[in-house]
């Protein structure tokens, strides 16, 4: 590594002569070691999924959740240092609650991403702090109906002055990924953590930009991608954790919830089945392909 011995990597907020901030880059390394997290923005909702690597047999299966609820309509998952992820979530909850307190309406996914992007960026500026060792994926559903503000009691004029704009489309799914530098973009499909390369390749195959994938199918795809991105040879066992957010007419009624057990199990079954099918074909190919893991470490 070029930085070694130059001293430009020893403290936060210091640029190297070629314009890099090494502390931020090291934080990215921490992310690259974490279990894979993905998010898919479907036409009628958002799915979040994470590959939860089992670090000990003494941990209770299904406990120690990795995907958190930020507000009723929003969730977040992250790869990297888990405690940093917890702090991210707690700050995001504060931002969502304070937004409600000020504006009496739920925060939109893009606004939350903006607030959190600013927050993470601040942690690259000062020598007394270090950047977040996580990349977070935030998924949410902004209500498609014109939402009453919290506590509002009437519905107001139905149309015209002070009323609704005819034909205007409100809300919809939102998916953002926020990196240690504070950089955030909105995505159709987002992946981070150890298996992100594989996951991204799989996400690209889905043609999410067309806006055709349904939430139900998104759940199945997400499960499959986590299974594919998981490296059987190198890694320990893992658990799949998934949450979703649908529109008001969908299964979660605009709320961020865990994917119900039966649907999760079905998606896992399909994922395993698809993987077995793939194995038969890929066993031949695998030899003439360079090992996936090597590429990632670069």
């Amino acid at each position: 590594m070029t930085s070694i011995g130059t001293g430009y990597d020893l403290t936060n907020s210091v640029f190297s002569p070629d314009g890099r901030n090494f502390q931020v880059e090291y934080a990215v390394k921490a992310v690259e070691n974490g279990g894979t997290s993905i998010g898919i923005r479907c036409k009628d909702g958002v799915v979040l999924a994470v590959e939860k690597v089992i670090t000990s047999k003494l941990l209770k299966p299904g406990a120690n959740k990795r995907i958190a609820t930020i507000d009723r309509h929003m969730g977040a998952v992250s790869s990297g240092l888990i405690p940093d992820g917890r702090h991210f979530v707690s700050r995001a909850r504060e931002e969502a609650a304070s937004w409600r307190k000020v504006y009496k309406t739920p925060i939109t996914t893009s606004d939350l991403a903006n607030r959190m992007g600013g927050y993470l960026q601040a942690y690259t500026l000062y020598s007394s702090v270090r950047p977040f060792g996580i990349t977070a994926i935030v998924g949410g559903w902004d209500s498609e109906r014109e939402l009453p503000v919290d506590g509002q009691v009437g519905s107001g004029p139905s149309i015209g002055a002070g009323g609704k704009v005819e034909g205007k489309k409100y809300g919809g799914p939102g998916l953002y990924m926020i990196e240690p530098s504070g950089l955030y973009w909105g995505y159709y499909g987002a992946a981070t953590g150890k298996g992100r390369q594989t996951a991204k390749a799989e996400l690209e195959k889905l043609d999410l930009a067309a806006g055709k994938l349904s939430l139900e199918d998104g759940v199945k795809e997400a499960a499959k991608i986590i299974y594919i991105a998981h490296d059987d040879n190198k890694d320990k066992e893992f658990e799949l954790e998934m949450t979703w957010i649908s529109g008001l007419d969908g299964p979660t009624k605009g709320r961020h919830e865990e994917v119900p057990k039966d649907i999760l199990e079905e998606a896992e079954r399909l994922a395993k089945k698809a993987l077995e099918g793939d194995d038969d074909e890929e066993e031949i190919k695998e030899e003439d392909k360079p090992a996936e893991g090597d590429k990632m470490e670069e």
Partner: protein
């Protein structure tokens, strides 16, 4: 407690003498809420075999002025309970926000356990009691309808003083005088309420809304009605009393100067 929210929490006139309205002037030291301003009238509710029916009209009055005619006074809580608010509308909005944040924080947990109607009622009554003890009351009487931890119908009241009680049928404000007798003939005790079908309960509540429309001057014919069972909430916010009208009033002759 009577049908006039203005009177709630005040010393009774027949006990303490006529209330001196000069105390309501805003000059002088800083004051907490001393009177409700925009108010909602009765809330009525009745238990039945599988759940609870609850209703309230969509009117918010400013004194005797029918100020807002599209005010939803039934608020849902996490598919588990409905809270019906009587009394001050701004305090209702404050409580609604409080319940929204409670619901949000409850959803942070991953156990999937959400608060039931019983828990919600306890929470609300403690909020009321705390605020009355600070001499800064929330000027409402509320009914909480839903199911309890055993999925059995739950119905209870809480008010600005922190007073709480539970019964097979409940009604606030004018409803306590006009609706409660109707409901009690149908469900004098828990056993009788447990024998009611949903249809019977809804019909009884609608009948009460009709009586209240004709005899409570601070009421209207548009109302919200909700049925809460363990399977969820069926809330309708734009019901109208069918074939009921005050139009006959102008045809009445023989009173005052109008002698024929």
């Amino acid at each position: 407690m009577n049908h006039l929210p203005q009177g709630w929490g005040r010393p009774r006139d027949d006990v303490y003498g006529a209330y001196d309205a000069s105390y309501l002037q805003n000059s002088g030291p800083n004051q907490h809420t001393q009177q409700p301003v925009v108010t909602g009238t009765s809330v009525v509710a009745l238990k039945f075999k599988e759940g609870v029916v609850i209703a309230a009209d969509n009117l918010a009055s400013y004194g005797s002025l029918a100020r807002f005619t599209d005010v939803k006074r039934l608020r849902t809580f996490a598919d588990a309970a409905v809270v019906g608010f009587g009394g001050d509308v701004s305090d209702m909005q404050y409580l609604d926000r409080l319940l929204t944040s409670l619901d949000t924080e409850e959803a942070y947990g991953t156990t999937g356990h959400t608060l039931n109607a019983h828990n919600l009622h306890t929470y609300l009554s403690k909020v009321f009691y705390k605020r009355r003890s600070e001499f800064n009351p929330l000027w409402n009487q509320v009914l909480v309808a839903g199911v309890d931890q055993e999925k059995k119908p739950f119905l209870a009241s809480a008010d600005l003083l922190g007073t709480t009680f539970s019964a097979p049928s409940l009604a606030t404000g004018f409803g306590a005088h006009l609706a409660q007798p109707i409901l009690r003939t149908l469900a004098p005790d828990e056993e009788a309420a447990a024998g009611l079908s949903k249809e019977q309960a809804v019909e009884a509540i609608k009948e009460c809304m009709k009586v209240l429309f004709y005899r409570d001057a601070r009421s209207m014919d548009k109302y919200s009605i909700a049925v809460v069972t363990k399977d969820g909430i069926d809330l309708r916010e734009n019901e109208k009393l069918e074939a009921q009208s005050w139009a006959f009033a102008e045809k009445i002759r023989g009173y005052g100067t109008q002698v024929n």
